[in-house]
């Protein structure tokens, strides 16, 4: 603890020179390898408060791994992460969740046996306080708490327009809806930073439009910072404030959509035909 406090002292300096919004998360020289494969090689970038940051790059570039590093599922071999004024070697998933980092997954990671409603309710677990005995009785404060959270979740259900599937076990939902439920679960955590791993894969234009609408709305209404991986350049260019480009573990560009679009290295490595 004492160690963390001493780091706190150093933090304000770092924060003050962030201009276009404060930096809420900074990755410094992250290195991550698996056996022979170097998935991430000395990548640094920062995430600023309230922005939509896109991470793009070819398949296998290390984008998902990057998100895994951010929320602590992978521990980088080298580098450090600055978050909320603390600098850590690696994040701890539970710590991340507690301090407002929520995410969705590339290969949907919903709780398949549970209904949509229950899946969203799991997002609120960290906010529920009653102990096991109250829960067993399901009475008084426990019930009240349950109902409060139910209400919050219902708002998200309305927002995402998934009222009709409230009680359906998510395993049976079509792919696109599962993605939406997953977003809902992340939103239920009321995160400060939302990590989205290819939220629009496998969707048609109309559905992507819906998804974009949700993402933008979350970003604007609640000021949630969003880090997003996406392969649809249309989406990336339209909705993101900043883009980080990875190519086989190294960062090759970092800037506004327009800068990135024009970057020759990015075109060669990723875009192919220009968009």
């Amino acid at each position: 603890m004492a160690e963390a406090d001493s780091m706190n002292a150093a933090a304000p300096a770092a924060l003050s020179d962030a201009q276009a919004g404060q930096t809420v998360l900074r990755l410094n020289d992250i290195e991550l390898g698996f056996g022979g494969v170097k998935a991430i090689n000395k990548v640094s970038f920062e995430v600023r408060k309230g922005e939509i940051l896109a991470i793009i790059g070819p398949n296998g570039a290390g984008k998902s791994s990057m998100l895994n590093v951010i929320n602590g599922f992978y521990k980088p071999q080298k580098g450090s992460i600055e978050f909320r004024g603390e600098t850590r070697r690696a994040m701890d998933p539970n710590h991340a969740a507690k301090h407002g980092i929520a995410r969705t997954f590339q290969n949907i990671a919903l709780f398949k046996g549970m209904s949509t409603l229950d899946n969203l309710m799991t997002g609120r677990l960290l906010k529920m306080k009653r102990n096991i005995f109250w829960q067993a009785l399901y009475w008084g404060p426990a019930q009240k708490e349950e109902l409060e959270h139910r209400e919050a979740v219902e708002k998200i259900i309305d927002f995402l327009e998934i009222q009709a599937i409230r009680r359906t076990p998510v395993g049976k939902l079509p792919y696109g809806l599962q993605k939406r439920v997953e977003l809902g679960r992340a939103l239920a955590m009321e995160p400060d930073i939302l990590l989205l791993d290819e939220p629009m894969a496998g969707m048609n234009v109309e559905e992507k439009e819906d998804m974009c609408r949700f993402v933008l709305e979350v970003n604007q209404e609640f000021g949630t910072t969003i880090v997003l991986i996406e392969h649809d350049m249309g989406v990336v260019m339209d909705i993101s404030d900043r883009v980080v480009v990875l190519d086989y573990g190294v960062k090759i560009a970092d800037g506004t959509p327009d800068q990135v679009r024009a970057n020759q290295r990015v075109i060669d490595a990723y875009l192919g035909v220009s968009h």
Binding site: N68, F105, Q106, N107, A109
Partner: protein
């Protein structure tokens, strides 16, 4: 009681050889798990069924060699029936469901075997010698040596079958994902019949060895419980693991029983085997030689 090195080695060797007998049973589990991702609880029942069929035939007057062939045929038929009646309708179900189905199979063949051949104990004597041999001061039993040789041959043959044949790869594919295996044209039904037949043959061998030792009776089905720690220690997916796991469990539990047991009032070998396996799992959650459990998001 005093400690002496020759006795220690005697127990060690006895334990290793006893472990080989467990491996014979564990091998059947490994085969089916490796090749279809099914934890086949019925392996013990299959051992009983194979041995009962063999003894039953011999008692009917069929010459031993022919009886063995017929028992093999019976195991293939069993594999066919299992595929048709159980596995086919349950394709693509989660492992626990398939596990449960094999428990159903266990009950069925336990009952069926006894209906056919009765519940009485039968003697199976294929002339495997059971005499104490002495190497210097150390006693080794000839039966155990034969068992070890049989197990060694079996493992070699199976390892080659899995490594060197095209089917081996297909089997592993099936274990990973039934539906995907079907989608690339791997004939699930044929594969399953093959695997279960091979496991049936392994069960027959185990049944012969254990049956010669214990007599053929219902209790044979219970040796599955001795094979389980071997299985987890070696890893569900490794054929050599079954042997090495067997050796370790055998030696470990015998040494524990002899040298630790007296301080704990004895009869500790059963749980000791499981504890040993569990401790290994704490360090390697997939067993010593099992395929790594893939965890990704």
């Amino acid at each position: 009681m005093f400690f002496s090195w020759p006795f220690f080695f005697e127990v060690l060797i006895g334990g290793l050889l006893a472990g080989v007998m467990y491996s014979l049973v564990a091998l059947g589990f490994v085969l089916i798990f490796k090749a279809s991702g099914v934890f086949n609880f019925a392996q013990g029942g299959m051992v009983l069924f194979a041995a009962l069929t063999l003894v039953g035939l011999i008692e009917l007057g069929v010459p031993a060699a022919l009886a063995i062939l017929l028992a093999m045929a019976a195991m293939v038929v069993l594999a066919y029936v299992v595929e048709k009646a159980v596995l086919r309708p349950l394709v693509n179900q989660p492992p626990i469901i398939l596990f449960m189905a094999t428990i159903g199979i266990t009950f069925f063949i336990d009952g069926f075997g006894q209906t056919l051949w009765g519940s009485d104990v039968h003697t199976l004597d294929l002339g495997i010698p059971n005499t104490p041999l002495f190497f210097g001061d150390i006693l080794v039993n000839s039966f155990d040596l034969v068992a070890a040789a049989v197990a060694g041959i079996l493992v070699t043959v199976l390892a080659i079958f899995f490594q060197k044949t095209r089917i081996g790869r297909a089997l592993r594919a099936v274990a990973d994902d039934h539906q995907a295996a079907m989608s690339v044209g791997i004939p699930l039904r044929v594969i399953w019949v093959i695997v279960w037949s091979v496991a049936g043959l392994v069960a027959l061998v185990a049944g012969i060895m254990w049956g010669s030792k214990l007599g053929v009776q219902f209790s044979l089905a219970l040796i599955a419980l001795k094979a389980l720690p071997v299985l987890i220690l070696g890893g569900f997916t490794s054929i050599p693991g079954a042997i090495i796991g067997g050796l370790m469990i055998g030696a470990g539990e015998k040494l524990a029983e002899v040298f630790i047991g007296p301080f704990l009032a004895g009869a500790i070998e059963d749980w000791f085997a499981y504890m040993l396996a569990m401790v290994v799992l704490l360090f390697r959650p997939q067993g010593l030689f099992g395929e790594k459990i893939i965890e990704r998001v």
